[in-house]
C-alpha cells in the first residue's frame, strides 16, 4: 500500500517535473529481412525538446546534459556522428535509414555568425569533447583531415537556407577507427532510460559486434519554430545487419536469437511511444506473436507492407516478449534476387608497385532516367592527386562535369577537397578515375603497425532520387522513423558512402634507425682512434741506423733510464710530455 502510494507520488513528481520541460522520447525498432539472407535492424531513439529562447541548456530532463552543453558551448547548429564497423552493401541491401562511413565520421554546422578561424577553433574543441564523450579517437581530427564540402551536404536545421550555411560546415572521417564496446557503453549513457529498460536492453555488445555491419549514430539538429521558442531534435541510431547463417543457421530468425534476449513489455518507462516495425513485403514467414497491426506504406512508387508491434500495449510483467518468424515453405532453397537500388558506387585502387596508382570509383545508375549526382572525394594530404588526370567516363565516352570544386591539398596542413557534379546517363556505369603518387612520409608520421597501410576515407555520393525504391530514410522535414511511412515527396535526398581504401605507402624498415646508429658509432669509433692518436702524439723522425737496437741495448737503456731520467733519449714519450 505504502509502495503504491509512494509510486503515485513519484509519478506525480515526475509528471509535474516534466511539465516544466516540453520534451518527449520515442523508441523505435525497424526490422527488415534483406534479400541476401541478412536482417537489418535499425534502432532509433528520438528525443525532441522544445525550449523557450531564454531557457538554459544546463537544465535538462530527457536530453543528456552533456549533449546540451555541447550546443551551449560550441555554437553548433547541427551535428552528426557515426561510428561504424563493416560496410553497408548498397548493391545488395538497398539504402540504409542513416548512412555511416566505415570508421568514424563527424560533420557539423556552426553558427553562421562565426568567422572562419572561430569555426575552426570551435570545430577542434567540439571534436575533442566528442572524443571524450564517446571514447572514440575523434580528437585526431584537425585541419589536416577536415573537409569543407560546398555541395554534398545539406543542412537540416531551420533558418539554414537564410544564411550561407555551407561556409560553416566541417566534415571529417577517421577510417582507421575501430568501433567496439567502449564506444557503445558511453553512447548508451546518453539515453534517458537505463540499460535494462526498453529497446536499449537489446544492445548487448557481445551480440551486436558479431554482426556484418554495425553503426552507431548520433544526429542532433536545432529547429526554430517561432521567435519565442525553438526545438532541439536528438536522434540516436543503431543500424545493425545480422547474418542469418551465423545467427540461426536456417531461414527462421527471432529477436532472441539476434540479440541474445527478449524484451520486457511496456518498453522504456520514459518513452512516449515504443514500437517495433517489421517489413513483411514479399516475405515468406509467419510470426509466432501476432502484430498489433498490419499496414501498407506507399512511398515514391514503392509499396511496403509493415507489421507493427506496439510495446506500450503489452503489460510490463510480460518479460518474455519475442518476435520470432517461422518460414512457411520448409526446405526451400530459393534465393531472392536482390534488385539493386537506383544508384550505387564501388571504389578501389589500381596500379602495380609503389610509384603511381589510380583511384577509381564506379557509379552505377540502374534508374530509367539520368541522374544528377554530386561526388565528394576524400583524399588525405599524403596522397597527392593530379586533377588533370581526372577522367569521368562511361566506356569510351567522356562525361563533362557540370561543376568542379577543387581545393588542392597542402602537405601536413590540408586534405585535397574535390567535389564533382555531373549527370549519369540512364542505366550506365560511370567510372571516375584519378591518378595519384605514392610518397614517403616523415618517419614519425607512420602510424603504429605501419606496414598495415594507410586508409583513405570513403567518398560521398549525393543524389536526389525521383523514386523511393529500396529507400528507408526519414524525410528531412520529419523526425520519427514512423514518419517515413507514406511519406511521398517530389524527390528523395540520398547519400551513399563508398568503401574506405587501404593503400600501402612505401614504408621504411623501422629497425633502420637502429642500424644507422650502430654503423655511425662504428665509423666514428674507427676514425676517432687514429685522429686522436695523430693529434696527441708527437712524432719524431729518426735516421734508419738508429732504429736498430739490439735487445741487450734495450735492457741497458731500461736500466739507464731508471737511474737517470734526464738521459738524452731519441724517443719522447707523449704521456710523459703531457704530465710535464
Amino acid at each position: 500500500m505504502i509502495v503504491r502510494a509512494l509510486s503515485v507520488v513519484i509519478i506525480f513528481v515526475i509528471i509535474s517535473e516534466s511539465s516544466q520541460f516540453q520534451d518527449e522520447f520515442h523508441e523505435e525498432l525497424f526490422l527488415k529481412p534483406l534479400p541476401t539472407g541478412h536482417i537489418n535492424s535499425y534502432f532509433q531513439f528520438s528525443t525532441e525538446w522544445t525550449l523557450n529562447r531564454g531557457d538554459s541548456l544546463h537544465h535538462t530532463n530527457l536530453v543528456s546534459r552533456s549533449i546540451a552543453e555541447i550546443f551551449h558551448y560550441y555554437h553548433v547548429k547541427e551535428l552528426h556522428i557515426s561510428l561504424s564497423n563493416g560496410l553497408w552493401r548498397y548493391e545488395n541491401w538497398g539504402y540504409p535509414v542513416v548512412p555511416g562511413a566505415p570508421g568514424a565520421e563527424v560533420w557539423a554546422w556552426f553558427d553562421g555568425n562565426l568567422n572562419e578561424t572561430q569555426v575552426n577553433e570551435e570545430w577542434k574543441n567540439l571534436c575533442g569533447t566528442l572524443s571524450g564523450l564517446l571514447c572514440a579517437s575523434l580528437s585526431f581530427i584537425d585541419n589536416s583531415n577536415t573537409l569543407k564540402p560546398k555541395f554534398s551536404f545539406r543542412p537540416e536545421f531551420a533558418d539554414a537556407l537564410k544564411e550561407e550555411a555551407n561556409a560553416t560546415i566541417r566534415y571529417a572521417t577517421l577510417p582507421r577507427e575501430i568501433v567496439c564496446t567502449e564506444n557503445l557503453t558511453p553512447w548508451k549513457k546518453l539515453l534517458p532510460c537505463n540499460n535494462r529498460e526498453g529497446f536499449i536492453s537489446l544492445l548487448n555488445s557481445g551480440f551486436i559486434h558479431s554482426t556484418s555491419y554495425h553503426s552507431l549514430g548520433l544526429h542532433i539538429r536545432t529547429l526554430s519554430q517561432a521567435d519565442s521558442f525553438y526545438k532541439m531534435q536528438i536522434k540516436q541510431t543503431v543500424n545493425l545487419v545480422f547474418d542469418k547463417k551465423i545467427v540461426s543457421h536456417n531461414e527462421d530468425w527471432s529477436i532472441r536469437r539476434m540479440f541474445g534476449q527478449g524484451l520486457t513489455g511496456g518498453g522504456c518507462f520514459l518513452a512516449k511511444t515504443s514500437k517495433i516495425y517489421v517489413d513483411v513485403t514479399d516475405q515468406d514467414f509467419d510470426f509466432t506473436t501476432n502484430p498489433t497491426q498490419l499496414f501498407t506504406s506507399q512511398r515514391g512508387g514503392s509499396v511496403q507492407k509493415i507489421a507493427e508491434f506496439d510495446m506500450k500495449q503489452r503489460h510490463r510483467n510480460d518479460v518474455t516478449f519475442n518476435i520470432a518468424t517461422v518460414s512457411r515453405a520448409k526446405n526451400h532453397k530459393l534465393m531472392n534476387m536482390a534488385s539493386p537500388p537506383p544508384l550505387y558506387a564501388k571504389r578501389f585502387t589500381l596500379g602495380v608497385g609503389q610509384e603511381h596508382g589510380k583511384i577509381v570509383t564506379k557509379v552505377t545508375n540502374t534508374h530509367w532516367a539520368s541522374l544528377n549526382v554530386v561526388f565528394q572525394e576524400n583524399i588525405p594530404w599524403f596522397v597527392p592527386i593530379y586533377l588533370h588526370s581526372l577522367k569521368i567516363s562511361n566506356g569510351a565516352t567522356t562525361i563533362e562535369p557540370t561543376v568542379i570544386n577543387y581545393v588542392p591539398g597542402v602537405r601536413r596542413e590540408r586534405p585535397y577537397e574535390l567535389e564533382i557534379a555531373f549527370t549519369i546517363p540512364a542505366r550506365t556505369t560511370v567510372e571516375i578515375a584519378m591518378d595519384f603518387d605514392y610518397i614517403f612520409l616523415k618517419w614519425l608520421e607512420y602510424p603504429p603497425d605501419a606496414n598495415h597501410g594507410h586508409y583513405l576515407g570513403s567518398a560521398v555520393l549525393s543524389v536526389q532520387l525521383p523514386v523511393a525504391r529500396n529507400l528507408t530514410g526519414v524525410p528531412v522535414d520529419r523526425f520519427l522513423f514512423a514518419d517515413s511511412f507514406n511519406a511521398s515527396r517530389p524527390a528523395y535526398f540520398v547519400q551513399i558512402r563508398t568503401e574506405a581504401l587501404l593503400i600501402s605507402l612505401p614504408t621504411p624498415d623501422f629497425s633502420m634507425p637502429y642500424n644507422v646508429i650502430c654503423l655511425t658509432c662504428t665509423v666514428v669509433a674507427l676514425a676517432f682512434g687514429p685522429i686522436h692518436n695523430i693529434s696527441t702524439k708527437k712524432i719524431v723522425i729518426r735516421d734508419k741506423d738508429g732504429n736498430k737496437i739490439t735487445i741487450i741495448e734495450k735492457v741497458k737503456r731500461f736500466f739507464m733510464r731508471k737511474k737517470n731520467s734526464t738521459a738524452s733519449d731519441v724517443l719522447v714519450d707523449t704521456s710523459k710530455e703531457k704530465s710535464e
Binding site: N92, S212, H249, V540
Partner: protein
C-alpha cells in the same frame, strides 16, 4: 716543428683510413702487380665464389627457418571442421565428376557459380581474351569465376585469395579436380564463421596461367598491351595480402609439394612458406619444398649431397624465371603466394579419402585463420632466400657473396683491360694517359652493338606475319640471320657492364645470376684482348658461347636426357624444333606475363657477346693502328 708536420703526413698515409690518394707511385706499383696476377686472381675469385655457393649446403652455413611475424600464430586455434564439411567436399566431388562427364573440354561455369551462390558468396565471372601476339593472330577466350566472402569485421579493405585452376578432362596436365571440392567445402565452412577480418576471394581459373594473369591484370588494372585483353572485374575486395593456390590430385594424398618459385624468380615471403610447413606438420601431412615421395628421399645418401641437390634444383627452377604454378604470377603485384601441389598416392585408397579430405580442409582452415590474424602485410622475415631443405634456408646476405665474387672477377678483368689500354708496353708511360685512344670510335661501336641487341628484342614485334612459315621457325631464322650478321661485322670490353648486370640480376633473381656467372665468367676470364697464340681456340669458344648456340645446346641436353633412345639425326631435329618453340615461348612469356629473360638475353647478353667477338677478331688491327698513330705523335 716543421719536421713534425711532415712526419705526421707520412704517418697518416700509413693508416688505412686517411690514405692520401695522390701517391701515384704506389698506384702504379699495385697496378703492375695486378696485371701480373690478374688471371690467377680472377680464377681464384671464381673458384672461391663457386666453393662459397657449394658450402652453403653445409649446415654450418645455413639456418633453420623460424617465424618472424608473431601475428601469424600458426595452429593456435582448434579446428572447427566437422564431419558435415568433409561430407560436403566428398559429395561436391561426386557432383563435379558428373559435371565433367558432360563438359569434356569446357569448365562447368554454371555449376561452379551456382555452388558458390548456394554457399552464400557474392559471385562474379570474368571474361578475358588473348590475341596471340605472334603468327596467325588467333584469339582465345576464357572465363574465370570467383566468389567473395565478405568479412563481417572489415569494410572490404583487405582480402586474401584461395584459388584453384580448373583443368578440363582432356587437358594434358595432371588432373587436379580435387582442389575444387576442397575449395568449395572450405568456403561453405568459412561462410558460417563470424571471425573473418579479411575478405576471402575464392577464385577458379581456367587456361592455366593465362586465366590467372588475366584476373590479376583486371584486378590491378595494369595497362594491357592489346595482347591479353583482361577486361574489368565487377567486384574487388581491397588490397590482397596473400594467396594460396591448390593443385590437389586426390583426397588421398601421398605428400604435398610446396611450390614457391614465381615469375622472374621472385619468391613469397619465407613466413608464408614456414606457415604452410608448420601447419602441414600439425596435420601430419608429409610436405615440403621440392618434396618427393618418401622412398626416393631416403635413397639419397649424405645430408650434404641432399642439400646441394635441393638447392641446385631450386636454383635451376628459379633461373628460368618461369613460374611453376599459378602462384608465381601474384608476386609481381606484391602478393605473397604459393602453390600446394598434393600428389596422390600411387595406389589411391577409396577408404582413406575421408581422412585425407579432412586433413586437407583443416590445413586450408589453419592457413586462412593465420592469414586472418595478420595485422600488417607480410614484411618481416625474408623475401630473398634459397631453401636448402624444407626447414633450412640461406638468406641473401649469405649467398650474394658467391655471385659478387664471381662477377668481381669480371670487374677486375675490365679494370685490367682499361689499365693495359692506357699503359701500353713500357711502364714509364703510365703517368701520362694515352690521349689518342679513340673513345668516339669505341663509343660508336658500343652503341652499335647494343643497337643490335635492341633490334633483336623488338624484331618479333615488327615483322610482317603473312608469310607462309611457322612463327617459331620464322623467329628462329631471324635470330640465326642476326647472329650470322653479327659474325660478319668486323673496343674496349664490356666486362664492367656485364658484371654490373650480373650483380643487379643477383639482387632480384639470384639463381639466374648464379647460373649466368657459372657459365659466363670462365669464358670472359679466358678472353684476352691482347694478341696471343691460341687465338683460334678463343674464337671457337666464343662462337660456342653465342646465346643462340647455348640455348640450342641446353635444349639438346634436355632432349637427350628425355629421349635417349632416338637416332642422332631425329634427335637433332627434335632439339632444333624444341629450341624454336622455347624461343617463341620466351617471347610470348615476355609479352603476356612480363617475364624479362628474353629481354635480358637480347638486350644485354647478345651485345656483350658481339663486343667479345669483335674484340677477338679485330684486336690486332686496332692495336696496330693505335701504335702507328702513337708513333706519328711522337
Amino acid at each position: 716543428m716543421r719536421s713534425g708536420n711532415y712526419s705526421t703526413k707520412i704517418k697518416a698515409t700509413e693508416m688505412g683510413l686517411l690514405t692520401d690518394p695522390a701517391s701515384s707511385q704506389q698506384k702504379s706499383k699495385y697496378a703492375k702487380m695486378l696485371i701480373k696476377v690478374n688471371r690467377q686472381l680472377c680464377i681464384f675469385l671464381y673458384v672461391i665464389g663457386l666453393a662459397w655457393f657449394c658450402l652453403l649446403s653445409h649446415k654450418e652455413f645455413n639456418h633453420a627457418t623460424y617465424f618472424s611475424e608473431n601475428a601469424l600464430l600458426p595452429g593456435l586455434v582448434y579446428s572447427e571442421i566437422k564431419t558435415e564439411h568433409i561430407n560436403y567436399a566428398l559429395n561436391v566431388f561426386d557432383e563435379l565428376e558428373r559435371e565433367r562427364e558432360s563438359h569434356k573440354s569446357k569448365t562447368p561455369h554454371a555449376w561452379l557459380l551456382s555452388k558458390m551462390r548456394h554457399i552464400g558468396l557474392d559471385i562474379y565471372s570474368h571474361n578475358f581474351t588473348l590475341n596471340y601476339p605472334l603468327g596467325g593472330r588467333e584469339t582465345f577466350t576464357g572465363k574465370n569465376v570467383f566468389g567473395i566472402l565478405r568479412a563481417p569485421r572489415i569494410g572490404s579493405t583487405e582480402s586474401f585469395v584461395i584459388t584453384a585452376p580448373y583443368r578440363s578432362p582432356d587437358s594434358i596436365h595432371p588432373e587436379i579436380t580435387y582442389s575444387i571440392p576442397l575449395l568449395l567445402a572450405f568456403a561453405n565452412f568459412a561462410r558460417n564463421q563470424k571471425y573473418w577480418a579479411k575478405d576471402i576471394i575464392f577464385l577458379i581459373t581456367e587456361q592455366e596461367q593465362l586465366g590467372m594473369q588475366a584476373w590479376l591484370q583486371a584486378y590491378h588494372g595494369s595497362e594491357s598491351n592489346g595482347v591479353l585483353n583482361s577486361g574489368t572485374l565487377d567486384a574487388t575486395a581491397g588490397s590482397i595480402q596473400a594467396a594460396i593456390n591448390l593443385e590437389i590430385q586426390n583426397f588421398d594424398i601421398d605428400f604435398i609439394d610446396v611450390k614457391i618459385e614465381g615469375l622472374n624468380g621472385q619468391l613469397p615471403n619465407l613466413d608464408l612458406v614456414n606457415l604452410v610447413q608448420r601447419l602441414t606438420l600439425k596435420e601430419g601431412i608429409c610436405c615440403g619444398h621440392r618434396q618427393t615421395s618418401n622412398k626416393r628421399r631416403s635413397a639419397l645418401k649424405s645430408k650434404l649431397e641432399e642439400n646441394l641437390n635441393h638447392m641446385m634444383s631450386m636454383v635451376l627452377t628459379q633461373a628460368t624465371g618461369v613460374p611453376n604454378g599459378n602462384h608465381g604470377l601474384f608476386h609481381r603485384y606484391g602478393i605473397e603466394a604459393l602453390t600446394l601441389e598434393g600428389h596422390k598416392t600411387p595406389s589411391t585408397n577409396y577408404q582413406r579419402r575421408t581422412h585425407g579430405a579432412a586433413s586437407l580442409i583443416r590445413l586450408i582452415e589453419g592457413i586462412s585463420r593465420s592469414l586472418n590474424n595478420l595485422l600488417e602485410r607480410f614484411h618481416q622475415s625474408y623475401f630473398f632466400y634459397l631453401l636448402v631443405a624444407s626447414d633450412r634456408f640461406v638468406s641473401i646476405g649469405d649467398y650474394i657473396p658467391s655471385v659478387a665474387l664471381m662477377s668481381g672477377a669480371l670487374l677486375i678483368k675490365a679494370f685490367i683491360v682499361w689499365l693495359t689500354l692506357n699503359k701500353k708496353e713500357d711502364n714509364d708511360a703510365f703517368h701520362q694517359p694515352v690521349l689518342n685512344f679513340n673513345f668516339i670510335g669505341v663509343g660508336k661501336f658500343l652503341i652499335f652493338a647494343h643497337g643490335i641487341g635492341f633490334v633483336v628484342a623488338y624484331l618479333p614485334f615488327f615483322t610482317p606475319f603473312d608469310h607462309g612459315m611457322k612463327t617459331e621457325q620464322f623467329i628462329f631464322y631471324e635470330f640465326v640471320i642476326v647472329g650470322l650478321l653479327s659474325l660478319v661485322i668486323p673496343f674496349f670490353v664490356d666486362f664492367s657492364l656485364l658484371s654490373t648486370v650480373l650483380i643487379i640480376v643477383g639482387m632480384v633473381n639470384f639463381s639466374l645470376a648464379l647460373i649466368l656467372c657459372v657459365f659466363i665468367v670462365p669464358f670472359a676470364i679466358f678472353i684476352n684482348p691482347s694478341p696471343q697464340s691460341f687465338k683460334s681456340i678463343q674464337r671457337i669458344v666464343c662462337i660456342i658461347t653465342h646465346p643462340l648456340l647455348v640455348v640450342f645446346t641446353t635444349v639438346l641436353c634436355v632432349t637427350l636426357s628425355t629421349f635417349d633412345d632416338l637416332p642422332f639425326h631425329l634427335l637433332m631435329g627434335k632439339a632444333l624444333s624444341a629450341t624454336m618453340n622455347a624461343m617463341a615461348f620466351s617471347i610470348v612469356d615476355s609479352i603476356i606475363f612480363g617475364n624479362w629473360i628474353f629481354d635480358l638475353v637480347s638486350v644485354i647478353l647478345v651485345p656483350v657477346w658481339i663486343v667479345f667477338w669483335t674484340s677477338l677478331i679485330c684486336l690486332r688491327r686496332q692495336s696496330d693502328k693505335v701504335d702507328k698513330s702513337e708513333k706519328k705523335l711522337k
